[in-house]
Symmetry: C3
Subunit: 335 residues, 3 copies
């Protein structure tokens, strides 16, 4: 029997995603159970976290289990991921041992590992989490690498809570300014889940440089086709917002400038007007606004938008707790 992981929603059918969302909704109504009684999950953070850490740790507790929080390279050893490497540098332990030993201790391994932001051809291989999935003998959960599938589920659940069916609802994923180039993970994930839910998706960004990796664009087109929705790219703010039911904001670095961020900086800075504000939201069809958080107020979205009743970012953040419990319970149920 093949071990099932939760690395990307693309490994899950639409029906399986729907089932996870229903399970999550049930946990939202009734938070406590014993589905992880005596079980444990290791949370490995190669990058910091607040929401992810809190919601996973709490989720395990609600289900009778226990989360162990580890920060490799900080309060644990730096890890080697290359196969066959002569380990005479900084790394003290190979992923083969890390994953195998953790698999003896815990029942689930969750990993956060952001790109290094030097070379997208390297980063897009998603080496860290794939190595965990390869060597672990327990299920592995993606807590954000180059996609963020837990965020996807939380986002989908929040939209369904407010809109009911998402079929052919107009969904805008808008790029926004941020002083630093950021991970494309949540943007990739937004494309994947919105198309999977059959929404009519517009990717709004300042220039073609901000279009996402072809792997996710292609998956988005295929999802759209399979689920009766659509996907297009736009650089026209007014057209994109017009009639939208959901506006989802995210900043990310332009892939053609990956590792040469100084050259991208003037482009980013010329597009601060992509900020989500009340004027833009007024173009929508009573649209909802959301964001994965953390969000820089008055940079990505204005105070007025963040504090508006149509902002569901807090609901989405809350849903992280519920969907992750559904994911953990579902993966444990394999055993």
């Amino acid at each position: 029997m093949t071990l099932r992981h939760f690395l990307t929603t693309q490994d899950y059918s639409r029906a399986e995603i729907d089932a996870l969302l229903e399970h999550a909704a049930a946990f939202k109504r009734s938070p406590r159970s014993q589905q992880l009684a005596g079980k444990s999950v290791a949370l490995l953070f190669f990058n910091p976290s607040m929401r992810t850490r809190t919601s996973f740790e709490l989720g395990a507790f609600h289900l009778g289990g226990h989360a162990i929080v580890l920060a490799p390279g900080k309060d644990a050893w730096p890890i080697e991921f290359e196969v066959g490497s002569v380990m005479d540098g900084d790394t003290e332990e190979h992923i083969a041992e890390v994953a195998r030993v953790l698999s003896r201790y815990v029942d689930l391994i969750a990993v956060r590992a952001f790109p290094k932001f030097q070379d997208w051809q390297v980063d897009r291989q998603d080496t860290v989490i794939k190595a965990f999935a390869q060597y672990a003998t327990v299920p592995v959960i993606n807590m954000e690498t180059i996609t963020h599938p837990c965020q996807e589920l939380a986002h989908a659940l929040a939209m369904k809570e407010h809109l009911g069916s998402l079929q052919n609802k107009k969904y805008v994923l808008t790029w926004t300014y941020h002083p630093k180039p950021l991970n494309t993970a949540v943007a990739n994930s937004a494309l994947l889940i919105a198309t999977k839910m059959g929404m009519d998706v517009t990717l709004l960004c300042p220039t073609p440089d901000y279009v996402l990796d072809e792997r996710y664009m292609q998956a988005g087109f295929e999802n759209a086709q399979a689920n009766g929705g659509s996907l297009k790219v736009s650089h026209d703010i007014e057209e994109a917002y017009s009639g939208a039911h959901v506006v989802y904001a995210k900043s990310w670095g332009a892939l053609p400038y990956f590792g040469r961020w100084e050259q991208e900086k003037p482009i980013r800075e010329a597009n601060k007007h992509f900020i989500v504000d009340e004027a833009k939201m007024a173009l929508t069809d009573h649209g909802l606004f959301s964001h994965c958080l953390p969000l820089r107020r008055n940079v990505k979205a204005t105070d007025a938008v963040m504090d508006a009743p149509y902002c569901i970012a807090i609901d989405e953040a809350e849903n992280r707790l519920h969907v992750q419990k559904a994911v953990m319970a579902s993966l444990i149920g394999q055993g």
Copy 2:
């Protein structure tokens, strides 16, 4: 219904404080219960901690709950506290989102946030914890900011255990030397709780520069009047110790020199003789000695004092566990 926080003992009546102390004494006799079963508390440490962290985490466990430990800016995002700020600097997330999201996850939020020691007019506004209390939709607990109310309760309980009634017992809060200027929080708190318990309080310090902020001096005078005690300032070591029932030591920075610590240094260093030693303790009426810990031995108090039977600092530290359980149980009970 207004949400009740635990930000300062001044928000609690004498009867409420007495009830918390009785509840704490009961937890000391019988540590375990299920009053926080399935509940959780987020412990946010903007500054490090050992006793506070351990006693809160353990307190939650004893009551069937779970504590999540977060260090914003270290293993979580740096937080913005200004309203309306354009967040294009270092902070990644606004307190509005942090507090609202945490409130969806946990049932209590506890915060430690020391002053920045640059400008007392800024620090005395206690911005961080006030912002949490403003935006959170669950009760907020002060784990030390510019006062330290949990320490107050632990201290009061330890005194009552050894003295019974505290009414009109002579209480000396003595400044001591420390190589660095320290937070006035515990000194402010000592004034508040000792006067609230109706004690006859002497604030002993080298010069008028070390008198505490007028807010706490004023509250101390009012507490004394309301509870039949007294409050005075003294710079005379012998007079202050004479006949004392309790000596409480603390070092703190002089407010007039706030942010100009190099100028205060010679004053502090000229007053190393404020150390608590056996000769001074011999002037008391079989007085108890205590300190909030951590304490630099042979700088703030001698080994002989720390190891004497009249030193109740360890009891006070233990009581942190019991009083915090009482505080958490009482705040959860609101729901």
Copy 3:
């Protein structure tokens, strides 16, 4: 009644060690119990950890208890260990208070404190854990200082699982190269436990400079005599591996060069051929290989050895969990 700690296996009789191993084997078959229900253990890490932290934290959870993880000097105060010290330097709190306060909060205190690698005459006094044992009023557990007794038990259990009786089995502790000088703790411990189990032990190292501290050599000889085994030193790789039943690898710094590591470096680097490889393992009598981990692949042992069926390092690592539960349960049982 004297409080019993777990500082070194030398404080435990062979019969007591055997009983701990049987208890551990029982926990391996049936992981959960309530032997620590409502109890807690403080895990103090003066140095980082993954396996130790995870296995202790999880062990406490499995037994119904709770582990508090503290990193003094990082998320807790720096601690003073000198008696009578005038604490006007960096340390903020004396071990007397740290140990006494923790003893009021928790039921067990576990400590990891590596040598400072400046002066072996200082390090060999094992000041930190001895101070905890002196001042604590609850049992203290060694999580690795200059020995690593928890690793010893895990190692012994793994060997017994694969070999049955260990009596007079040939055991080789081989030094290996590592780019940095490392702690002798696991090497000292390997000598202690292998001789205690009555094995025929060869300490294999490049030169007499790598022989271990006389305290552990002497204890090894005494253990061997008491338990019908033997202990010898060899610098001959072929002789040492020949007919071995167990090869245990570890790198460590040469004591005569302690604190003058630049001078040892050429010696270490001249002995990279001590790496454990298939050719050497072929000399053994179907020998097992193990290592305490973390292990630098292709530096201390080759990929082929690490991935071979005779490598039991993962079993040994797993056993940390089981033996530590046995140790905690046994120490708590004193009360």
